[in-house]
Symmetry: C2
Subunit: 403 residues, 2 copies
Amino acid sequence: MNEEARGKAILKATPSELAPAEEIIAGNVVLLTKILARLPRKSIARFKSVSKHWLSLLSSIAGCGGDDLYKELWKACAGPLVDIPRVGERVLEASTNVEPNQRSPLFNPLNLPSQIICIVMDIQLRAERDTDEVYAVITLLPEQDQSEPTSPDSYPPEPLTPMLKSFCKVLTASDTISGFTVPQRLANECLPALDMNQQSPMQELIAKDLHGAEWRFKHIFRGQPKRHMLATGWSRFVSSKRLVAGDSVVFLRGENGELRVGVRRAAHRQSTMPSSLITIQSMHLGLPAATSQALAHQTIFTVPNKPRMSEFIVGLNKYLDAVNNRFRVGRRFKMRFAGEDCTIVGVEDLSAHWENSKWWSLRVQWDKAASISRPDRVSPWEIEPITCTLLFGVALRNPPDAR
Amino acid sequence: MNEEARGKAILKATPSELAPAEEIIAGNVVLLTKILARLPRKSIARFKSVSKHWLSLLSSIAGCGGDDLYKELWKACAGPLVDIPRVGERVLEASTNVEPNQRSPLFNPLNLPSQIICIVMDIQLRAERDTDEVYAVITLLPEQDQSEPTSPDSYPPEPLTPMLKSFCKVLTASDTISGFTVPQRLANECLPALDMNQQSPMQELIAKDLHGAEWRFKHIFRGQPKRHMLATGWSRFVSSKRLVAGDSVVFLRGENGELRVGVRRAAHRQSTMPSSLITIQSMHLGLPAATSQALAHQTIFTVPNKPRMSEFIVGLNKYLDAVNNRFRVGRRFKMRFAGEDCTIVGVEDLSAHWENSKWWSLRVQWDKAASISRPDRVSPWEIEPITCTLLFGVALRNPPDAR
DNA sequence: TTGTCTCCCGGCGGGAGACAA
DNA sequence: TTGTCTCCCGCCGGGAGACAA
């Protein structure tokens, strides 16, 4: 979406609520950007209380609704370890914009620094229309002060999210070729209760996915011994979403009883389909060009962000946290997402064009040979020191022994 | 494909045929490019006779084979009026790289001229993996002499293409829900003859599509009156390719009897799916950035080209031909592809950033209101004066009265 | 010549419990 | 508790000619 269209979309969303003065500003995102760029950073975080209209302008107007349930479903589909920055937060954007395992030439024709400090102006949580793969589109405004950060920023505490019941199940072979066996806990916590007095209890469930599409499932209680199952409608869902054994489904139940359903594909099934409308070369030049333009004119620019695929943004606090750890060659770590162990075998610049960049600065070696290709370079914030706390499956952001 | 990989692919293709000196050069496409850039333009066209190895290096090594049949099938799927430049030809590339009906801001941050004269170094004819939509990836080398061309270039005559039998049929409703009724002429000209002595003649046809995938069809002769039909295998093809009534299928028969099959979707069903790996903004900045870099360093760059969708390249001779026509406001024309009539209502620059650019300089008005969106701006070479010759369905490139 | 209909049969998909890990 | 198998029934998809444009 280009800037002009976005301004219009926002206006359309809440036209009657806007006071005239705000309307003029809100209608022109470029103008608003310029104003915001002149304000101290902390003001942005405070907009939340200053103006609800501006908050809505700055907040996600994403996809189908942007309601709490949508956001929770998105996060559930993205996986537990994906964290997305908040609006108003300071982040670092990697202007290299190219992953090291793609063997593309790493030029730096625009002489950009290796990373740029930005404020998050907007986050849109989206899902790929055909694969349901989740991604975020993040709108950034370059900071005027680009000096290397030293101390973490402080933000108001995250508002408490409503307690939602959710459940994720990895599909078995039987689930994909026959009906879906509903685990007991999922049935108890997330599904409306069946009337067990009836001889063959049955009800129809309606669950919305990330695109707002409704899926109808016949929820029954059968088999010997009896169990909860999803029958009619389930196979349509499986084939439409092209699910196979090993993929996961997520069920989510809102406080009002509303049901949501999402999918998460097995790690090795990630699909990237570069558009034929653009070449790889142009793709790699496009984002640096946009970044450079935004940096020069202090205007917003937009970055796509695919969890686990192409992440060019890291929260400032997370960055500081990671680089303050002393990464020695030989130290053993766990990859944040893959969950596999690896060892650091070198610390070096990704490219001579960006000296002292922390992005993909760690050369690593994996313990086990894997069928799926894994990166041989990672960024400090993508890995997790192996500590005893991990044995309990708890992924702490600040493991005590790593400081 | 990046440059390094391409060099390797070429080496792999004909390793034993290459003399050592050529091998070193051919292995380094960047080096070769620099050498070619120093040569006068006409030498490029003459490489055809100088070195078969270099010709193969410069020619398409596209998709699955790049054989004649593939090329002919690609052209048949693209449609009769699509013309792709030849390797060695001079073309103009629109550095605006953005279509006027997309409402994106037309900046020119790199101060590029409105068009750049290039030599075509390579053309790869490809098809979208999931939709079979055809497109070309064209590798260009900017010319050192960028002065406005005045006289057309001359090239050796196009080598005669082998006479191939081909047939295109628009699918009826019955074709998509039941078997495919083979038109008499298609059966006679393109399919192997059935043994009509048998009581129920039948044979299996194997046809390859643009991806090299083989499709098997049971070819039978039945019904009352008798007719040729494709039965078993046909419905798989229809659902795999997601064909509906109104789409077309193309059959092609090589001289050796080899069968090919392709699809062409109805005009209003064109699908564009921008990749979520890149934003629209970056996409529009990417190609200008690549162009600018190539222009500055006299290196090759690559442009994707979708017939009827996004075409940023026009042959130099075609360009001269078109701009030498006097386009008056009020003159009536036919759109090259849509086949619909329209009237020129204005001649103006697309944007103040590119003055006197011929790209999308004609503001037009369509005779009939249409359900599908049609451009309100076209380039001079995209339209065809309405002449009596068109009544015979012959699309002349240089209609005599238009000069 | 070829588009559409209807009829008819066989196979496959889904709905059920059985059984075992 | 839940993954997999098998059985069985109903219906839908495809294979055939009829008929008309």
